[in-house]
């Protein structure tokens, strides 16, 4: 998604000027953006706390400020600066974390982002965006820019089925119809599940929805709630720990609305059960987040 992000940011700069700060990251990815922005592209160095305070200072003076780094370096290291300087002041600062979930794979746990939006959504005014596909970036960036408040963007790797056409971006999107269990997946995992289920029988395969914006506002679309009534089984799948995750938010919303499904499963990141490291695919499998494990747990026969 980094290339799509870079392209989208260049397009955005024409209509909504901003200052872009990177924590010394973007090699072989953000050079075109640096070229396009000139002095408004600033490498703030390996100093994320200052970078976020500077972004808040810029935003407090009327600028829109975007801050970019590997995800944990943008949400965990400078957390107090995000809390006090950005969110307490409800400033137009966008935090962009590359490598959501286990995307950095065998680079190790320090580079993973398993609790990013859960932590950040505890803060006032912030909205989190978890696009599922590269194609989403243009609309997501425009939506973020149009909302002059704190935001977090989790970038990952788009995983749409080969040759498939991605439906137009929306916070909630139906990717695949089906008469089986209802699956709501956050971010790129939605594409992985779509790929795994596309060839299954329409009557029994899961109905797959992609969810890309948190907190839960707007409410889930009526079509999703209707499908849930019929199916009675809801699974939320996210590459994020259960605590503070999308699954908890959706479960609470459904309970309050009196729409609790008969069966609810929450598939979430389990950390490092074996204490070993590998690719994103390896870690998803260890957490039971890979499509095969999810479908098996839901009693859906894989192709």
């Amino acid at each position: 998604m980094r290339d799509a992000f870079c392209k989208g940011m260049i397009e955005l700069s024409a209509s909504r000027p901003y200052v872009f700060l990177t924590g010394d990251l973007g090699f072989k990815a953000l050079e075109p953006l640096r070229e396009a922005l000139g002095p408004r592209f600033i490498n703030a160095g390996v100093a994320e706390q200052n970078m976020v305070s500077v972004a808040a200072g810029l935003a407090g003076d009327g600028q829109s400020a975007w801050v970019y780094s590997i995800a944990p370096f943008v949400y965990a290291r400078p957390f107090e600066q995000i809390r006090n300087d950005v969110c307490m002041h409800d400033l137009d600062v966008k935090l962009v974390g590359n490598g959501g979930g286990y995307a950095y794979g065998s680079m190790g746990a320090t580079h993973h982002a398993l609790e990013d939006y859960g932590v950040l959504l505890a803060l006032r005014h912030l909205r989190a965006y978890v696009p599922a596909f590269d194609e989403d970036l243009g609309a997501v960036l425009r939506g973020m820019a149009a909302r002059p408040h704190p935001a977090y963007l989790r970038l990952g790797r788009g995983e749409k089925p080969a040759g498939a056409e991605v439906p137009a971006y929306a916070p909630w999107r139906l990717l695949l119809d089906g008469g089986g269990p209802l699956i709501v997946a956050v971010g790129p995992l939605a594409g992985a599940l779509w790929t795994a289920c596309a060839g299954l029988d329409l009557k029994t395969r899961p109905q797959i929805w992609a969810w890309s914006e948190l907190p839960l506002d707007p409410a889930p679309p009526q079509a999703l709630l209707e499908a849930l009534k019929k199916s009675g089984v809801l699974a939320v799948v996210e590459e994020h720990v259960a605590q503070g995750g999308a699954g908890q938010a959706l479960a609470a919303w459904l309970l309050e609305a009196g729409l609790a499904p008969k069966r609810f499963r929450h598939f979430s990141a389990q950390g490092y059960p074996s204490g070993t490291y590998g690719s994103q695919v390896f870690h998803r499998a260890e957490s039971g987040l890979d499509p095969r494990s999810v479908l098996q747990a839901l009693g859906v026969a894989a192709a």
Partner: protein, 257 residues
């Protein structure tokens, strides 16, 4: 028209003491050490396009008094200091007064906020200078050094940083806790302009603050915690103690002496 500093400072100190006495609230020592600088800044230096960031948020009382002395806060507002439903919290809140842009209180944030504001003016070409008041103990925060590197590298010559070198921090002197007494020699190599001066001499303060340099400007203000009240001067406990009636009366008498 020149400002009668002695009378202004006396009046501001008395009002600061009264505000803290009525609210039964501490932090007097660090308010008294920086009050003179804040008065000079607000009366002599700040212009409408300028921005001030109070990085040592625990000196909110001194900031409120400086704003009061300029007529932009009123007596009835000061009476709400630390009260229920107040805007005048113990550390400044934002979005209620044009002279307080950022909420502060956790140390190590203000310098980066000031740097971002100064950078904004550079990029936009908008006028105005940025001023930031820090504590000396605050320089133990790593984020401050990140900001210093950034300020020097970005050549933010539209930024003036005041450091209240009162030498005392939360649980000891800066010398005992982290040997910060020679801060000037540590900041100077970053290719910024560093000056040390008496932080209780309004004429010197006005001259130094009003003389921008071609590089980011750092003014290390040699100050006394609890300045002007003998039994508070250089006493760490006045970071924490509220004033009782007897101490309040005694302090006022000293101001009149």
């Amino acid at each position: 028209m020149s400002i009668e500093w002695t009378a202004l400072i006396r009046r501001a100190k008395a009002r600061l003491l009264r505000m803290h006495f009525e609210a039964k609230i501490a932090h007097l020592g660090g308010n008294l050490s920086c009050l003179d600088a804040l008065l000079v800044l607000h009366h002599e230096i700040l212009r409408p396009d300028d921005v001030f960031v109070l990085s040592k948020g625990h000196s909110a009382g001194a900031l409120y008094i400086a704003l009061w002395s300029k007529g932009s806060l009123h007596d009835d507002q000061l009476k709400q200091f630390h009260g229920e439903g107040t805007k005048l919290a113990g550390h400044p809140a934002s979005a209620w007064h044009p002279g307080i842009r950022f909420a502060t209180g956790s140390l190590g944030h203000g310098l980066g906020l000031a740097a971002g504001t100064a950078l904004s003016r550079k990029l936009s070409g908008k006028p105005g200078r940025v001023y930031c008041l820090m504590s000396d103990g605050e320089w133990q925060e790593g984020s401050v050094w990140e900001s210093l590197i950034f300020i020097a590298h970005q050549k933010l010559d539209n930024l003036t940083v005041l450091i209240d070198m009162n030498g005392l921090q939360g649980f000891g002197s800066t010398r005992e806790v982290a040997s910060m007494q020679d801060l000037a020699s540590r900041i100077r190599p970053f290719q910024v302009d560093v000056e040390e001066l008496d932080g209780h001499d309004p004429e010197l303060l006005a001259k130094a603050m009003g003389s921008p340099r071609p590089r980011p400007h750092f003014l290390l203000l040699n100050t006394v915690k609890g300045h002007g009240v003998s039994f508070m001067e250089n006493r760490m406990e006045w970071h924490y103690l509220p004033l009782d009636a007897a101490a309040y009366e005694a302090a006022l008498k000293e101001l009149d002496a």
